[in-house]
Amino acid sequence: MLQYLLTFVVLAQPAPAPAGADKPATEQAQPAGDKGKAETAGDKGKAETAGDKGKAETAGNPCDKNAPRPANKPKKTLPPVGARTDLGAGSYWMPPANSDLATHVDSLFIAILAISIFCFVGITIAVVYFAWKYRHRAGHKAQESSSHNDPLEITWTIIPSIICVIIFLVGWKGFVDLNTPPRHAYEITVVAEKWKWSYKYPNGWVDENLHVPVGEPVRLVMRSKDVLHSFWVPSFRVKQDVIPNRYTKIWFEAKTPGVYRQYCAEYCGDRHSFMKSLVVVHPPGGFKHYMEEAEQALLDMPPVELGEYLYAARGCNQCHSTDGTTKTGPSWKGIFGETHQTSAGSVQVDENYIRESILDPTAKVRAGFNPVMPTFKGQLKDEQIDGLITYIKCLK
């Protein structure tokens, strides 16, 4: 959605602005962009028509999301994702290992592979050699040989048992590590739906690719909107099903910066094999910079658009409707300018009241509602609060 909005902002620029050049147009980013577009194809059609005919007459109207942007305000764009770095890399059996845990998994894999090859080659040699040496031919008969031998049976029961116990213990240890994130892990929310991934960052930014810092543990808290999906990054050797109505978690710590592929591994319908994204591991400092850029790109939206974006991204929509239905909190529809009874007397809903309600929600609680809203003090910038106020103003 945001990708689309950004695209649109670019398209809505006045002619002289180099619109095409602004858009991150790498090969890898393209499919993600396409997906976003397809999802919102309807909106796009509407918006374009409105934009075309409305440009001149609605200039200066804060509620028009398509109003031309002042030419002097520079447009922030995000740096391109770049080409995949895990392509053709890695060993014969495995893609490149991009975490210490992945290296551990590989060691166990190689150990089991070695044991397996040893056993298989041994058995094959025995079968082929016996089949040749004891083949039926004139004068050859089966020789007398014991039909059971307990010491032999016990030997080939106990040796595999010991090997299995060791493999189990090593595998279990790795599994425990794969499932025990460090306390200070950076947390990103992942939402899976047919057929796309969304990555939600603490600052409200939502991305179609997963951006993470190098050398820092990252923990993903995942949920699905519809059917089962599975989050898989081969280079990290991590995989976890994503389930509706239940949170599942996963963590990793990337060792090397680069761009790695991410897949859906649990069958989810028609476009299952297209449900993939990229993991961008930023070099030191790069991630912080990217997040600042992302935040700036948000602030750069027309206020009403930013407000609408934050309404969904920061979860206002959990309690406030925009269509008049009363949820946990009052609906935002037509609320601006109305006068309501609150816990501190009668109040008219204006810019200051909205600002106060965001930063200190329990100061003036509207009659009929409970003081349950958390404060957003320190979490929203002034521009973001302005955006929300404009958005509420425009909900008529």
């Binding site: 040989s145 039909s147 595998g171 794969l178 519809d226 898989w232």
Partner: protein, 566 residues
């Protein structure tokens, strides 16, 4: 080696006069007599026809899938059709071919004869099971015709309760097939308990019977769970009652627990009879007693019991508790031990043997090698941390094809060639059979070995489209699949051709020591002529079996002595 002046069995062939009783194939002719028959052999043959037809259909779907995957992007079909193809391939192969293949088709034919009995314990129930199988197959076909299900053979919720395709007939089909399986299992358990001949104790039973017995236990104990699970799925889909779908207040992971509680034992329903029949084949063509009889017999029962305790290893990344995953991983490794014991015992049987590499034996030897690969790759998947990476990739696809096709279906082919002369009284062309067995082995490995590598490298399963770097693996795999497909058609052609032009089969073409080789080929209605009931020899006793040129098969010296002294 002594040669008998007159073969004691020459009267079977009609050369020296009419056989005393007509064979089961000719006793009552006509389509109507076949469809109401209570004879276990005819029911077995009817199963065989149905299963082979389903196998052909499932194989065509497999080749369509492989052709589509020859290059990235769309070649033949779109993504929705692709999903239907792999679902049909899986559902048909699992529910219609492999599960009933060895027990219902070949087990039905061989079980009573191996026991020296005239029929199974409940012949009517046996026919009813067959018609249940037909009903289930028809329902699956209905789903195929209406709008084939696209859920994968696992029917995972909530996808299966929300997709628009014809899931209901497919699930109803699997439900009905489950009952067919339960009744067959029940029938076989009772048959083994009640019809074991005097003098055949539990540890004098051919290992084939141990396998059929353990399989039957699984069929009776595990399949009802599949029944109720699929029923709940239908209730949810039709009645919108929330059981598995979170949108209705259900839990999708619950479905996976229920499903695998059946479907893991089901893997053993497929592999145990395969291991069992392989034990018999290997000892027959080695002309030497099996090595470690008791260990093989106990390992069958051990596998059957353990198979109930490991279903959670399909769910290491499903969100089940970490503790559960740990316990299931530990239990999974216990399955490796009896499997390894079997392999070592088969190899030890070959030691100092007298091995004839006939077609069934070639299938048996490929079985040992392919099962070893299937089993060893299971160790990767049982290790928790490695499984997290390999789960739901082509590594898993290759692993279970090595077990289900490389082992269970190869065993089916070996067993089919083994009992074919007994079933129809005709010998197939040995040379063609041998070449086909080798080519199937080569084709199989060409198809599935590359899949291990691409899976570990990051190729997820059930993918319609893939990254170009995997193209070469997919292409090798597709070439192998076509080699295997063509070879299988040729080998079935070889069998069918033998019905018309094949040499007449002797009673004991391979030198088998078990009771079915004392019956005429093909046997009469009650398996043995009324005047010559089978003689029980010590199990796997090959000492007095010798090849008789005139008979064209193997005879027993004791038998000959008895025949010559009236």
């Amino acid at each position: 080696m002594a040669t008998a002046a007159t073969s004691p069995h020459s009267h079977d062939t009609g050369v020296h006069g009419d056989p005393p009783e007509p064979s089961y194939l000719t006793v009552k002719r006509g389509f109507r007599n076949w469809i109401v028959t209570l004879d276990h052999k005819r029911i077995g043959v009817m199963y065989l026809i149905g299963i082979t037809t389903s196998f052909l259909l499932g194989g065509v779907f497999a080749l369509l899938v492989r052709t589509e995957l020859f290059l990235p992007g769309s070649q033949l079909v779109n993504e929705a059709q692709y999903n239907q193809l792999f679902t049909l391939h899986g559902a048909i192969m699992v529910f219609l071919v492999i599960i009933p293949g060895l027990p219902a088709a070949l087990g039905n034919f061989s079980l009573p004869i191996v026991l020296g009995a005239p029929d199974v314990a409940f012949p009517r129930l046996n026919l009813f099971s067959f018609y249940l199988w037909c009903t289930g197959a028809a329902l699956m076909l209905l789903s195929l015709i209406v709008n084939a299900a696209d859920t994968g053979w696992t029917f995972y919720t909530p996808y299966s309760t929300t997709t628009g395709t014809a899931v209901v007939p497919a699930v109803a089909g699997a439900f009905v097939l489950g009952f067919s399986s339960i009744f067959t299992g029940l029938n076989f358990i009772v048959t083994i308990h009640k019809f074991k001949p005097k003098g055949m104790g539990w540890f004098q039973m051919p290992l084939n019977l141990w396998g059929i017995y353990s399989t039957a236990l699984l069929q009776v104990l595990a399949t009802p769970v599949l029944g109720i699970t699929l029923l709940l799925l239908l209730v949810e889909r039709i009645g919108r009652i929330g059981i598995f779908d979170p949108a209705l207040g259900g839990d999708p992971v619950l479905f996976q627990h229920f499903f695998w509680f059946y479907s893991h034992p089901a893997v053993y329903i497929m592999i145990l009879p395969a291991m069992a029949v392989m034990s018999d084949l290997i000892t027959t063509f080695s002309h030497k007693p099996i090595f470690g009889y008791r260990f093989i017999a106990y390992s069958s029962i051990g596998l059957a019991a353990l198979s109930f305790l490991v279903w959670g290893h399909h769910m290491f990344v499903s969100g089940q508790s970490r503790l559960a995953s740990m316990v299931f991983s530990a239990l999974t490794f216990t399955v490796a031990i009896p499997s390894a014991i079997k392999v070592f015992n088969w190899v030890a049987t070959l030691y100092k043997a007298d091995i004839t590499l006939k077609t069934p034996m070639l299938y048996a030897l490929s079985f040992i090698l392919l099962f070893t690969i299937g089993g060893l790759t299971g160790v990767f998947l049982g290790a928790l941390s490695v499984d997290v990476h390999l789960h739901d990739t082509y590594f898993v696809v290759a692993h279970f094809h090595y077990v289900m096709m490389g082992s269970a279906l190869i065993a089916f082919l070996g067993a089919l060639h083994y009992w074919w002369p007994k079933m129809f009284g005709r010998m197939f062309n040995e040379r063609v059979g041998q070449v086909c067995a080798v080519l199937v082995f080569i084709g199989f490995n060409t198809t599935f070995l590359p899949q291990f590598v691409m899976g570990a490298r990051g190729m997820a399963r059930r993918y319609f489209d893939y990254d170009p770097e995997f193209t070469i693996f997919h292409q090798v795999s597709t070439v192998g699949a076509f080699l295997m497909g063509i070879t299988l058609v040729v080998s079935f052609g070889n069998l069918i051709y033998s019905l018309f032009r094949g040499k007449r089969a002797p009673r004991n073409p391979w030198g088998g020591s078990t009771l079915e080789w004392q019956a005429p080929s093909p046997p009469p209605l009650y398996n043995f002529y009324a005047h010559e009931q089978p003689t029980l020899y010590p199990i796997y006793d090959y000492t007095d079996l010798y090849y008789d040129e005139q008979e064209g098969g193997w005879l027993r010296r004791k038998h000959k002595a008895e025949a010559e002294t009236p």
